[in-house]
């Protein structure tokens, strides 16, 4: 993402590291929310385990996903959700709401990069929650652990999925330049992402025609790709292809986000007279 602020001074990394640190500290003050997200995660781990157990007990299991693989899939999906379900760029919407974005434009910083570092700080804090959540989750379910190289590719793919999610959230929050009521739209996108991203149900067990639709949408690159790599449905021979598709979506969405951001930022200038 490039800057729109004219003639900014030489780039320094230090302020952005500071923004990220501040965001982490801010998140840490809501301790009860931390407790809630872990509790709600554990409830869902239990729920999905019971659901899949009930479904596998009386029906023929799909050959590509045996019971232990699907329970692993669901648990990892929920853990990924701790990071992926955060709206890292909410700050943009809030600042548009109260008007404080105007002063941010006057500061000698790259504004989108400021939101990125703030969001990353928030995400890093929540990523730390994965460890205790995982330990608790292991008390409820047993999950498979793949070999180290597969795990490494999984993390690369997870990171690309995170970038897609970031661009999508940023785009949605940019809509606030035009209309401040974006909550409903965000929720709609969240539900669609959950379903078509394969967060709740693996896309490989979708009916064929829905599978074809789901795999051409960007949402599949957010959850489904890293998860299918983890459980071994995507074999090493296809790694380059699926990572390429993820990278493609990162670039496409980043370009769109840049254009929308520029158009939106111009409006602010116009309103400011």
């Amino acid at each position: 993402m490039t800057a729109v602020t004219p003639a900014r001074p030489r780039f320094r990394l230090a302020p952005y590291l500071h923004f990220a640190r501040v965001a982490m500290a801010r998140e840490g003050t809501y301790r009860f929310d931390v407790f809630t997200s872990i509790a709600s995660l554990l409830i869902r781990v239990y729920l999905l385990r019971m659901v899949w157990l009930a479904l596998y007990a009386r029906n023929a299991a799909p050959s590509e996903l045996p019971l232990h693989a699907i329970i692993t899939y669901s648990t990892i999906a929920l853990l990924m959700g701790l990071v992926m379900d955060i709206d890292q760029t909410r700050l943009l919407h809030d600042k548009l709401h109260d008007g404080s974005i105007a002063t941010d434009f006057m500061k000698p910083i790259n504004v989108p990069l400021y939101f990125f570092s703030d969001g990353t700080g928030e995400v890093l804090f929540h990523a730390a929650l994965i460890v205790p959540s995982l330990l608790f989750a292991l008390l409820i379910v047993h999950i498979d652990v793949p070999s180290l190289p597969v795990l490494a590719v999984f993390f690369v793919s997870f990171f690309l999925g995170y970038l897609i999610g970031f661009c999508l959230n940023f785009l949605l929050n940019c809509i606030a330049f035009w209309t401040l009521e974006i909550q409903a739209m965000q929720l709609i996108v969240t539900w669609i992402t959950d379903l078509f991203g394969g967060e709740i149900i693996p896309l490989v067990i979708f009916p064929a025609f829905l599978q074809r639709i789901a795999f051409v949408l960007p949402f599949a690159s957010m959850f489904s790709t890293p998860l299918l790599i983890y459980v071994g449905v995507i074999k090493p021979g296809r790694y380059l292809e699926v990572l390429g598709v993820q990278l493609f979506w990162v670039i496409v969405l980043a370009v769109i986000a840049t254009f929308v951001w520029r158009a939106g930022a111009k409006r602010i200038v116009v309103q400011g007279g």
Partner: protein, 272 residues
């Protein structure tokens, strides 16, 4: 005296709906987008059930047709609650920003005033719920007889009352702990996720919890089990228990209301 007070309340309640509908008409785009959200929310839930049950035709003996009825029954009760009582959920906000104190000095029941605080409520979800439930009833092949016609409206009201009891209970907690968002989030999620499937798939502890402690199973599972004639469910309770929902709803609200009175008597303003 009593009669005239009732008339005043009715008048206020009419005004409340008038303002709601006028506000909705004023912010039409906003309304449309929230309608879109309601569609996607319930649509994606039903789609998820359909996808899973296409691949695995039976969940503990329940087919997609059965599950559609189960979902429709929950949806209509939940939508009825959201339409009439969603404002109860705003009470913690009123307490936090001090607005609540204004309700205390007015000459009408405090809870009634909280319920009748205008916002942007519109019965869109309820209408969608009615359509979904009618379609699900037809699709699941439930026999519509006199018993069904008499009991289903009562069960829906009972289900909405169970919802109201939890909404009121959580809002009352705000008298002691100002922030209750986290608690609400957990209960909402419990309800939403655990009412989606027949409770016979869970372990005994969870089944007991959903029957006796947080009786969400009475919103849809027990009545659906009765009307779908699911005799083989692993449960010690007789199927007729599914007709008890209205009673459970009334009891739940009575308990929550007693708690509310207690909270109200202990209330001291946050100070503004």
């Amino acid at each position: 005296m009593q009669r005239s007070r009732l008339r005043v309340m009715l008048g206020v309640y009419q005004q409340y709906w008038r303002i709601n509908i006028l506000t909705t008409l004023e912010y039409r785009e906003n309304f449309l987008i929230w309608l879109g959200f309601t569609f996607v929310y319930h649509g994606s839930a039903i789609a998820a059930l359909w996808i899973v049950l296409t691949r695995f035709p039976s969940m503990n003996g329940w087919t997609f047709r059965d599950m559609a009825f189960l979902y429709g029954l929950w949806m209509i009760a939940h939508a009825l609650h959201n339409t009439l009582f969603s404002t109860v959920g705003d009470i913690p906000d009123h307490i936090r920003d001090g607005e609540f104190d204004r309700l205390l000095v007015r000459p009408l029941d405090t809870l009634f005033q909280a319920i009748a605080t205008p916002g942007q409520v519109f019965p869109d979800e309820l209408i969608l719920g009615l359509i979904t439930f009618a379609a699900a009833t037809w699709y699941s092949g439930v026999h519509v007889d006199l018993l069904f016609v008499i009991f289903i409206p009562l069960i829906v009201v009972g289900g909405a009352l169970i919802d109201l009891a939890f909404n009121l209970f959580i809002s009352t907690v705000a008298f002691w702990f100002v922030r209750v968002d986290a608690l609400r989030w957990i209960v909402v999620q419990l309800e939403q996720e655990f009412t989606r499937y027949p409770i016979s798939i869970y372990s005994q502890g969870v089944r007991l919890l959903l029957t006796f402690v947080v009786p969400f199973a009475f919103m849809n599972y027990f009545p659906a089990r009765y009307f779908l004639h699911k005799a083989h469910e692993t449960s010690a309770l007789p199927p007729e228990i599914g007709l008890l929902t209205p009673l459970i709803g009334v009891v739940a609200v009575a308990v929550a209301y007693a708690f509310w009175r207690l909270g109200l008597s202990k209330y001291s303003s946050v100070g503004h």
